[in-house]
Symmetry: C2
Subunit: 395 residues, 2 copies
Amino acid sequence: MTFALSDVTVLDFGQIFQGSYATVLMAKAGANVIKIEPPGGEPLRKRTPPGAKTTMSFAMLNANKRAITLNLKTPRGRELLFDMVKRADVVLENFGPGAMDRLGVGWEVLHALNPRLIYASGTGYGLSGPSRDNLAMDLTVQAASGIMSVTGFEDGPPVRAGVTVADFMGGTHLYAGILTALYERDRSGQGRLVEIAMQEAVYYTLAGSLEQYNRTGKVPKRSGNDGNGAISPYGVYPVKDGFVAIHTGTEGHWHNILDAAGRADLKDEPRFLTMHDRAACAEDVNAIVAAWTSGLTKAEAVAQAQKFRIPLAPVRDVTEVMRDEHMHGRGALEWVDHPDLGHVVMPTTPLRLHGLDVATMAPSPRVGQHNDEIYGGWMGLSAAQITALRDEGAI
Amino acid sequence: MTFALSDVTVLDFGQIFQGSYATVLMAKAGANVIKIEPPGGEPLRKRTPPGAKTTMSFAMLNANKRAITLNLKTPRGRELLFDMVKRADVVLENFGPGAMDRLGVGWEVLHALNPRLIYASGTGYGLSGPSRDNLAMDLTVQAASGIMSVTGFEDGPPVRAGVTVADFMGGTHLYAGILTALYERDRSGQGRLVEIAMQEAVYYTLAGSLEQYNRTGKVPKRSGNDGNGAISPYGVYPVKDGFVAIHTGTEGHWHNILDAAGRADLKDEPRFLTMHDRAACAEDVNAIVAAWTSGLTKAEAVAQAQKFRIPLAPVRDVTEVMRDEHMHGRGALEWVDHPDLGHVVMPTTPLRLHGLDVATMAPSPRVGQHNDEIYGGWMGLSAAQITALRDEGAI
């Protein structure tokens, strides 16, 4: 098998979602990812319910990694890190800003030991500035970054995006920054400090709202599923068994809806001629669209959309997505037997490079599962030395 | 100045948001990005209101690019592309699947001309499978991918995340895939077809919902700003002038809230001892938190959060984010004079590699602004040849 990142070794202090997403993408691309946890395991493990061995999110985000324990609060633990850093390409962490510095294992110390080392830091607000030390979680970054202010309905409170968009935008940018540094290292010979702040990583997603503000001078409000006075038809429409979403981009899409709805008579209606016209009477347009969709099931609406070329999709719940035959057929999702979870659906990777392989799913490891393999095999320590490390609390 | 990507030339057919985000990140990192549009301009330009010269979203997504026109529907236009491909590192496009193939300029044709070329395709559902040709926009991908099903309140309809999360998750993964291919090309000498599907790029963001399903066996519902029975305090709380969001991760965070609220007496209350305990009576916990926040302004709440170490953030509107002093101080945002928009705030890049430079903001180009510079200077055509190309409709 041929992998994109087969010559890359990663020391992965990633925890929860942000950091671990960057490194699971690297692991799927064939990198040697060593997950390093404190002896009690990283915080995401603490969500494991009583009686269970792991969680789905942990399993998704830590597949294809090997796990070791390391206690950075001990001198011997730090020495072990220094020894590993000399043989590694990437260190990644998403602790609070300055946490690694306070332990004496920050960028400057590690860079001095290995000038080719890439050190990636994922935080909420970055490594400098007055907001640096504000505690950041996905929800609070969604609040501070403006996402919540435009999510939900105008007459209701701000709402979070129901998925952890800040964590994963942060994690994807971490991967992007690390790969940029790896590419550049081949030219300069130098490792770099890669710094990603979640708040910055989501700023561009406000593009539509910033455009609206620039156009109108008014602060964009929550507009539910409306097209903000600019796009019509746009929105969520009822079907017999749920909802579908429609987002038209052209006059052609509108005409296709009218054909599907048996309302070709409206193609020449002056009030509906252009996008601008329709947006000005979006309620009337929506009533025509809803009259069509509400006579269909989700599946019928999708079939009509394919036949008439309409940008429509069913609003699917999480289990419908998880079982999506299209995604399974493409290898984006697969049924696997996970030793801790049983027969479950797991994602592979959204990064597809044709002609290169994706690592075959290896289940997420237990705490310290690969201590012997890494400290013994890779670092060359004897079984007695590893036992001593364990006894003194260094691993 | 030293850039990470100074030796990378990109032929950028990116349009709207997804493709253009990947290439603006490359441009900010110093790549030579040539935006190629049909003679009438790409679709995003069509949103420019009457009397205006461009839009904020276009300006954000196309800074630091040079723009040329090219008509791929003419033989001479295709020849020009072939000539450019021989000198380029990356071609990126986010047209519908197969559009470039139908024009005779798809991956296989271009790869044969330049085996080192990286060809990046961004789509909604990928280049294969039964959903391949479903029309995809941000809203419809949010529907099909499960995001909308968990956004909003249980007693209300599904809601889109108010930001274009699918487009930008797609764009970030496109960048990530391209950089992976550039890194791998240095080893194999081969260019690759990089394929990103928005639907796949957002799947991991469902991690929390998939975890919930795996734990409970029940389809995750919209839960507004609740902690899904697992986290408390968690949510959006009223302050005098708006809302704040709080997301606690540890018992310590709860104790810090009690200290700030002057309710240290509740630290030993049995009903509130552990996260699990609090989640079981989240309404009571929320009432205690809200009693504290509702006596404060946003700014006072933030100051208290900093003092007492509480994961709290203000729910900020788009203009508050745009003017964030912290982000301006860090250089994530800057005030610039844009020839078409005036004095506006523009983002730089969330990809920070210390020791490397970010390109100084160059304003987004007008349609075909750099035809002479690229076709003349780079491709070596004479002024007469360029005029002839224009006259025959090839550019």
